[in-house]
Symmetry: C2
């Protein structure tokens, strides 16, 4: 998930100190591992290469450490894979005693293009403050430099912006002190398929690099906890690192600061203290129910699930307010629900699907923690499903429609299938028809693509699921991805919803899910 604009700064919020205290007590220790550069490279503009740039080996690290840099010279180092951490290095002078400060500029890139294309040309609509760079003025040489900010990079460009004519600079001991809250050990992937194994590796590194003090959205950009993304990360965590305590911490964070009516926010900031964002999304709030249900299933932690059940129940109650008399979620034009990054998408049917999906999980939780609610929930579930089938199903087209304009989209089919609306044969036919007669309102994000794969597997379309995983995530691997990207359109790999590929996140929570499919379904 990523940021879009809701401005609700004046909305009354409430804090639940007991939940926040628990969240704090669960702050994970980060595992630190120093990492040396693997290569020193030249970047060559190449229209055939990913994002327009190709790396060529330049020299060994030993040779780099011997080289003396004058004003205007630069170098790109390659850590060999995507990393999250803190850069340190030593800088020495050569020649006369340094008679002026040394001005360095460091640029960090998850991709090569980020260190090759000047940030000053950036014209995207997200804040340029996300672009990773730092200017340093070293007054005293030699200097041991340890940058205080955390960076997310495979490539680091070091430019000597200014020294005097009397001295040059040498670099030494370049290190990235990587951090993650994922444990070192992760069960191996048991797939016999080499391509799926490669996809699994990239999935796991994506999750690992997003696992910090919370499950971050993207360690480069956004760096915070979004509920819908947490939901997918928690799934992959179950079959890999199994750090259930981190999921637990995140649940308490969402529960600890809510709108005055109890609605959980779409995302939470954790520094300098826990602050829920003033962005509220119908689907993201509802996913609290699903994350809690899934946590209970995985961690078997009844106490936490019992304590947080009222928070989950509240999300359902608030969602019910949005229902019209016929049991359909009311549509609107503002940015009320996420589903996918897509302006032309009508989200009513998909939102209905999300509500049904989460109500089913709420019903299972109620069976444990509030049995007196079960009958009402069961009736509500049947009502919502029936209403969806009545209102959205178009038998002529063989598709669910959405909104007043009766739009046919991938999203509507996927979510109403996941919600188990209609009968199983109908849903199987819908998924097969998506493959043979794709609607023009397509899938824009890996996030919706995840739900597509989930729907295929739910309908037993295992081979098609594997094919789609290979066609989408596999294509990123073929492009050389170390981690899975926030945004990927195989037809337009440079596409950015923000107006610049430089600001896209190239290690993003919602893209890490193939490992879950591969491991859970034994693909």
């Amino acid at each position: 998930m990523s940021q879009a604009i809701q401005l609700n700064a004046q909305i009354p919020m409430v804090r639940q100190p007991q939940f926040l205290h628990k969240a704090d007590s669960l702050i994970p220790e980060l595992h630190r591992q120093p990492r040396s550069p693997l290569a020193v490279i030249n970047a060559v503009a190449d229209p055939q290469a990913l994002f327009g740039w190709r790396a060529e080996p330049l020299c060994s690290l030993e040779a780099l450490y011997q080289r003396e840099f004058s004003e205007g010279e630069s170098v790109i180092i390659d850590f060999g894979s995507h990393c999250v951490g803190y850069l340190q290095f030593a800088c020495h002078s050569a020649g006369s005693p340094p008679d002026a400060p040394a001005h360095l500029q460091l640029t960090f890139g998850e991709t090569l293009c980020e260190v090759c294309e000047p940030f000053s040309d950036y014209r995207g609509w997200l804040s340029s403050s996300w672009l990773q760079q730092q200017d340093l003025w070293l007054d005293v040489l030699p200097a041991e430099v340890a940058l205080p900010r955390r960076y997310c990079c495979r490539y680091v460009k070091i430019e000597v912006k200014a020294v005097s004519r009397k001295f040059r600079l040498r670099f030494d001991n370049l290190l990235l002190n990587t951090v993650t809250s994922a444990p070192e050990r992760c069960p191996p992937c048991e797939s016999a398929d080499a391509e799926l194994q490669a996809i699994d590796r990239v999935s796991v590194l994506t999750l690992k690099n997003c696992m910090q003090e919370v499950f971050e959205d993207g360690p480069k950009r956004d760096r915070r906890l979004w509920l819908g993304d947490l939901r997918l990360q928690a799934l992959v965590n179950d079959v890999t690192f199994a750090r259930h305590d981190l999921v637990r911490r995140c649940l308490y964070l969402f529960a600890g600061h809510t709108r005055a009516d109890g609605m959980v926010s779409a995302n939470v900031f954790v520094k300098p203290q826990t602050i829920a964002d003033d962005t509220f999304l119908f689907d993201y709030s509802l996913f609290f129910v699903d994350v809690l249900y899934n946590y209970l299933q995985s961690a078997e932690d009844l106490a936490t699930a019992r304590e947080l059940w009222p928070v989950a129940r509240r999300q359902l109650e608030l969602a019910f307010i949005r229902l019209d008399d016929s049991g359909i979620v009311r549509d609107s034009d503002d940015w009320w629900v996420f589903i996918d990054w897509q302006e032309s998408l009508n989200k009513q049917a998909a939102a209905q699907g999300v509500l049904i999906y989460c109500l089913q999980r709420g019903l299972w939780l109620a069976e444990r923690f509030e049995p007196q609610l079960v009958a009402a929930y069961r009736a509500q579930l049947q009502r919502l499903k029936a209403a969806a089938q009545t209102q959205f199903w178009d038998d002529t087209q063989g598709y669910f429609i959405s909104g007043e304009a009766r739009q046919v989209s991938w999203a509507s089919q996927i979510w109403l299938v996941l919600a188990e609306v209609g009968h199983p044969e109908q849903r199987l036919a819908v998924m097969q028809r998506l493959l043979s007669h794709p609607p023009t309102i397509a899938m824009n994000t890996p996030y919706l693509r995840h739900h597509f794969i989930a729907a295929l597997l739910q309908c037993g379309l295992r081979e098609q699921a594997v094919k789609e995983i290979k066609a989408y995530w596999g294509e990123m691997v073929r492009y050389g991805a170390d981690t899975f990207w926030e945004v990927f359109d195989p037809q337009h790999p440079e596409f950015s919803p923000y107006g610049s590929k430089l600001i896209n996140s190239y290690c993003h929570a919602w893209s890490c899910t193939p490992a879950w499919f591969i491991r859970l379904y034994g693909l």
Copy 2:
């Protein structure tokens, strides 16, 4: 003094640990004083104003602290006078929780033009790394920011380069923690002349802001200890702060790291350890003798003077090697002696003057510490003076000439007068002729201007000295100088020897001497 290029990185150097140890033991404690901004201003381009910019009051500090800054907005704060220190401030967010880092750019200026004209346009030949700026990325708000580098400024511009559209920034508690090794108390100036009082005030602040762990050349640019400048600072120090221990420290620093033949360097770096620069200048090395002599007179510290006398003597011995058979300093084309910043100036006669001047001080020191040398020194002194009178005096012109081309310059007259070459009436006539028939090879720096005033006073031309002080340093005060500038040509106040007024130092050691004249001569 300032940097020019000699490249002698391979020259053998020797360290004298006992001297360096003494220098270290004399590192002064810095006095720290927090200083709040005095005003919040707008800069207005104005061709009539100094350096092209005029300050207009914008709002109160209280109003600034209430203001909310969005991306692209900026403000200039004015500390009311020239300061050297460390900036700190608090930065808060307003609006929604900050969902992106805050990217700030800070620019520091001794003058208004430095914070108004983009450093990216700088095309001077000194390293742009001296231009004072810092980009900050604040990941967590509110933030208490304390910049680690020392800056030299009256003005600070704060620009919000990037925030997201969801929040704005507020600033608070802006402070500059000023530092100096000058004591708080300084004897008052007793001149009855209000203009001289004002000039004295600016002189004293110039010295104060240059007094750090050494007598720095300029606290903005160069920031190190030059011998010729130390000599002038020590004079002003005698009549103001009287921190003789700091002069003593500086003498040990020069003595502690020399060329293998014992020549002291023109300047010394003190961090990370004491390192003499590989720049050697005939006049600057000789001034070690004068600084030591003056230190002995002021501090009455016989032990130090005795210990360092051999170092002083060595500078004279090395200078004698440069004499030709007739007792004249050999000229050459390279940058062998400083005298003034002036390419067209032939420096032979002035260098002869410096040698005679320093030999006289060496003779006085020898009378105390090595009486067996006195006779030889006295003979040498007479020989050098006679040779200068014979070789350089042009009775037709009534001026000293210099070099093969028999150049007439201000510098030659000034230094041979200070050296007491010829008879007193001759020297008085020379100084009067300078005023009535100025040579075209003029004075370029406040440094040479100091020696001009000294020569006037030495010849008893007290009124003319006052008039010249008021015309030169007084003009800087009328331009609004808080501290005296490295470079000042009243006809071309924007002149820079480095190709940009942005890189000039506006608080510079060698310009602080009017206080010495005013106080010592009771002007």
